[in-house]
Symmetry: none
Subunit: 215 residues, 4 copies
DNA sequence: TCGTAAGCGAGACGGTACGTCGCGTCTTGTG
DNA sequence: CACAAGACGCGACGTACCGTCTCGCTTACGA
């Protein structure tokens, strides 16, 4: 979600930028409890597994974590932000940024990884929940969009390299191409009109490449 | 939402599948108040415009409509179902089922219409809200998926006609092709990484057709 | 509750005087369904047994009786009135009006009968419920008070006969004496500080008579 | 309701037995708002005066007190419990526990005080309402019975002192004697067959004493 | 080494909306 | 007309979470 290096030391690596960016005053005061923090994220993950995003509540997370509600609110401003920290990272941030020298291969790797989310139903549900929340919570939407863009960036770079190498059409519309990678994926994930089968990943990429080469 | 022809006359075009299917017992019982019904839908639409899907509440709808909350609950089992009736119809049901004899032209008409939803921000927000709700409310999800399928059917038929006429590749994968029509649209609508511009509709279709012809 | 002879024929013998007393118009119109009536009272009695006065509802009675709610409302204006018909009669109206020639004996018979209500828990609960309702429903209160007076009358007459025969003090305050018969009974029935034991009836009467003879 | 002496200072004299007995954990947690509490009781009392027990609602009390409904429910589990705190105390707790050395005099004082409730119609109605509620709400009944017993205790003690002093029959049945004090009072209060006149208090006591001396 | 400044648990608070229940009324048939 | 069916407006219910707010206690710096 965030590069590890932009973390204020002692900030736990996952707090949202709610605390003033000006390197935090830090003049005395009890230090943040790493434990409370961790328990919160663990409880969130556990509850996501058990009851799903929709029925997750901050109240419930706090109770499960043995943490005060106010402590949760101190570090995360919404359920979505909490879930994003607890799960988003695990789900997708660790996705590869493949660079094999072969654009088709890179794409294949990336898309396979993308589709593999459905093998972890809770992660898939978390993705759905985050997307849903982004529609309903105007404060969360920009943060989600930003995350989407960061994911797009990986694919865009990958395609740009391919185009530079001449593997793809020169006049490629990058943004549109990236939409063709993610669009059908999200659509199936959300609309559920057909199952999202990791086995389809290859076919998806093949058809994609056909279009991108011709252009 | 529903085929216009399966409407019982005087049933307002929005009957819920809650009442026993078809012929409704109809032996005694006060007849359903067309007025209460209509007022509810109008209030829903009005509030959608004013405060948006996220802040819409059944309580608020009932109050605005001058209708008892229990009456709303009698006919709609969730906010999403209510919005679907109040808005879904207006939003998409009236979309065309073009059949000009030219597949490319048909697609263009359909997609243009699809993209035009963003010219009505409230409708766009309603669409987003419904999709979000489908992720959060397991009871609503199937109903939404069904509606998605009905929309897909229109495009599938259109493409099938084109394939039969030889305008498209014979070995066309229909489902995947339909995903390419709707996927990028929904993706942009929901993720907001880039604006959804009706002017892009043509380009979208052109690229689509290129792929579908080659296959 | 009412003498059988004051019934308009065809009026079922237990309807409350809601219909005008002027021997009912009776000019065409469907005749009152004896069956609906009876089923209502039976359902009331059954539900009293099962769930008690407190949780009894007119809605529930109607459903159980297979009768329309409006039919219940047509003949009884409140739950209390309904219960009074369904149960009150059985509970207390059939109590004896003893006249053995011996005032002490008469009292003993009467009080024993009074206390025996606790052997029928449902009846006891109905009595409690009616008393409670009389406190909460101003419309029902007078009807209940009237019934109380009718019960008092029996005892008053009994005592008056005794006084005339010289078995009791001549300067007896009748109303107060009757209060001493019913007061402690109701008090124990309602306050539940001590169980109401039919075996106590004799002791109650004995102490009572001691006081009434001396005066 | 409770002995005045077992009140934690600042606890308003009306603490519910809902919180763990005695010393309350008191490790963290916002302190209970004495103000919210007091406003609730005041609003209850005010509404009792204005609309009476029957039409009192918790919803209404909360609104009037400017307090959240959930706060009311946190401290009182039913309307009856609320009224008992708001009014019961005022009505009867402050009743005297006379000990003049003369049993007859003590009784007279007590009964006069008892009858005087009818001079405050709202209190009388509250008493009726509480008794009614005790019949209808099984959860409340024991609490009410307990209160009744505490009131009886006062009279029992008074009579026991008299008996010890030889003012009353030695073989006095205390429980029955107490029933004779309260029974007729409640009976008249509830059944309304005759008005409850404070002027009758003396006569009531006189007749009572006659019986208790003779026994 | 002490005071000041957090962080933390607990949990009460004012709110908002929920979804349900029963009321008593009404509007439809049908008999 | 009575009756069944059942929809309607209404009002309150009791619950669930929200996000905020004291509390008392603990921890860590910096003066």
């Amino acid at each position: 979600m965030q590069d590890p290096q932009d973390q204020t030391p002692g900030d736990g690596g996952d707090s949202r930028p709610r605390r003033p960016e000006q390197t935090r005053r830090r003049t005395g005061g009890r230090i943040r409890s790493e434990d409370a923090h961790e328990q919160t994220l663990l409880a969130t993950a556990a509850l996501l597994e058990e009851i799903g995003y929709g029925r997750l509540t901050i109240e419930g997370v706090a109770a499960r974590a043995g943490v005060a509600k106010s402590t949760v609110y101190r570090w995360w401003k919404s359920k979505a932000a909490l879930v994003m920290d607890a799960y988003g990272l695990a789900v997708t941030q660790r996705m590869p940024e493949p660079d094999s020298g072969d654009c088709a291969e890179d794409l294949r790797i990336f898309v396979r990884q993308l589709y593999s989310v459905v093998e972890h139903p809770t992660r898939a549900e978390a993705l759905r929940g985050l997307m849903a929340e982004a529609q309903l919570d105007p404060e969360f939407a920009p943060r989600f969009t930003e995350w989407v863009r960061s994911r797009r960036q990986v694919v865009a770079a990958l395609l740009a390299r391919g185009a530079a190498r001449g593997e793809l059409a020169a006049d490629l519309d990058l943004e549109h191409a990236v939409d063709l990678v993610f669009g059908p994926f999200w659509y199936r994930l959300l609309a559920r009109h057909l199952p999202l089968d990791p086995a389809d990943a290859s076919a998806h990429v093949d058809r994609l490449l056909a279009g991108l080469r011709a252009s």
